[in-house]
Amino acid sequence: MNRLFRKSFITLLALMIGILNIQIPLAQAAMVTTDQVIEQQQADNEREKVIAFLNRADVQQELKQQGVSPDEAQARVAHLNDQELQMLAGRIDSLPAGGIIGEVIGAAVFIFVVLLITDILGFTDVFPFAHRHAH
């Protein structure tokens, strides 16, 4: 339902921008962008713009929900390009985020032992003391 609404919303907005564009006298340069040459396709610009706009709002909201301050969230999405926004929208919650400092926080003893064994075997690298070569 949400998707359907979003789809028709995008089409409607794209149409509106399209109509507006026709009424505005043509002034800006009509260059094929490097991006379009690389991807070998001339995208439906209006549609893409709207999708990017919605994705930007989505990602900004998700960042705020994940504890990023509103100002920082806004600055961060401003620096993401359309493809990056597309990859992040709706997925921040499930994507892996690198951040550990080398200790298992709140892990059960069983997992501790397993990880210690796998560390010694060289499958994992959670405990630096498991390797003699480590400083």
Binding site: L26, M31, I101, H135
Partner: protein, 324 residues
């Protein structure tokens, strides 16, 4: 009952361990590298000039990026990068933002192909590599960023700036295990004009075009020049070069670039369109019309080419020379 549960736990643990032991000691890529050193690869390499920043709580993303940026020529601390990368509730940083952030500083972020071989060759070429690792197991992931700065095939080790340890030496096989569990993700931070050792044309040009779209035109131009030298047959590299020259107002140069591209690629409508627009900006209406007519001949379905054509006609008609 308690004995039964104990048995079962021991059984599970035993089976688990047996699985681990029988799955072989050395992962595939390390085994291949050790068995036969690839042509052109030295037995060891070390980049000495990579700055080290110890990681503060969950800040391995900012720390790793600060080290790579520092080596590429941007002096910045992990603390300064924190607001651009860190996500408090996830206690970490996302790969996509790791790739997006160097751009803010006019640097190119290049995502490497998932190959240990290529990773080591980058180190050998003097490019420190930011690597993503899952230090734990798939069920209990421990996501981590580090910077690979050296390797030694005779000792089968790799050297990383990681966590609290500068020059942390770990077995290459363990590294491969942790790295493959994070989808073999790795990236480089490069100054404009520098190419990765194992550059893929499309991946590199995408990175440059991101820089171009972020309005770093002189830097994008420098990188497109390097790209056209590395891939002389690349139409995209030349179009990028022309577009950057155009964006910088160097219309003569842009015209030359597009003209040459349109001659070398007589079926590239894009080159003719951009050539037409560049002629139009110099009020050379006749040449502009010629070029855009050729673009429309090649591809009559493009709305953009018709728009360029309409603009040329419009401006030609209002220009004084053509009224008299």
């Amino acid at each position: 009952m308690p004995i039964k549960t104990g048995h079962r736990t021991r059984l599970i643990a035993g089976v688990f361990l047996a699985c681990l032991l029988f799955s072989g000691c050395m992962p595939k890529q390390t085994a291949n590298l050790v068995q036969e050193k690839p042509v052109g690869m030295n037995s060891s390499a070390k980049i000495e000039s990579v700055p080290f920043f110890p990681q503060q709580d969950f800040q391995c993303g900012p720390a790793a990026l600060a080290m790579a940026l520092g080596h590429a020529g941007v002096a910045i601390s992990p603390e300064q990068l924190r607001p651009e990368l860190y996500i408090p509730n996830k206690r970490g940083s996302l790969q996509i933002e790791m790739l997006a952030t160097p751009r803010r500083y006019g640097m190119l972020a290049y995502k490497l192909a998932p190959s240990l071989n290529k990773l080591l060759l980058e180190i050998q070429s003097g490019h420190p590599v930011i690597v993503f690792q899952n230090l734990g197991l798939s069920l209990t992931p421990q996501w981590h960023y580090a910077v690979a700065t050296g390797f030694d095939l005779s000792h089968q080790t790799i050297t990383l700036h990681s966590g609290d340890s500068p020059d942390y030496v770990m077995p290459l096989s363990t590294f491969e295990n942790t790295w493959v569990r994070a989808d073999s993700w790795a990236m480089l931070v490069l100054p404009a004009g520098k190419l990765p050792a194992s550059a893929d044309e499309k991946v590199y040009l995408r990175a440059v075009s991101s820089l171009e779209k972020a309005d770093f035109h002189p830097l994008a131009l420098k990188s497109y020049v390097a790209a056209s030298k590395r891939w002389p047959d690349s139409l995209a590299a030349r179009m990028g070069l022309g577009n950057s020259q155009y964006a910088l107002g160097k219309l003569q140069q842009a015209q030359q670039t597009f003209l040459k591209a349109s001659r070398d690629y007589p079926d590239a409508a894009e080159a003719f369109n951009n050539l037409a627009q560049t002629y139009l900006d110099q009020q050379n209406y006749d040449r502009a019309l010629q070029a855009i007519q050729r673009a429309i001949e090649i591809d009559s379905s493009s709305a953009l080419y018709h728009q360029t054509w309409a603009e040329i006609e419009q401006q030609k008609n209002i220009s004084p020379q053509h009224h008299s």
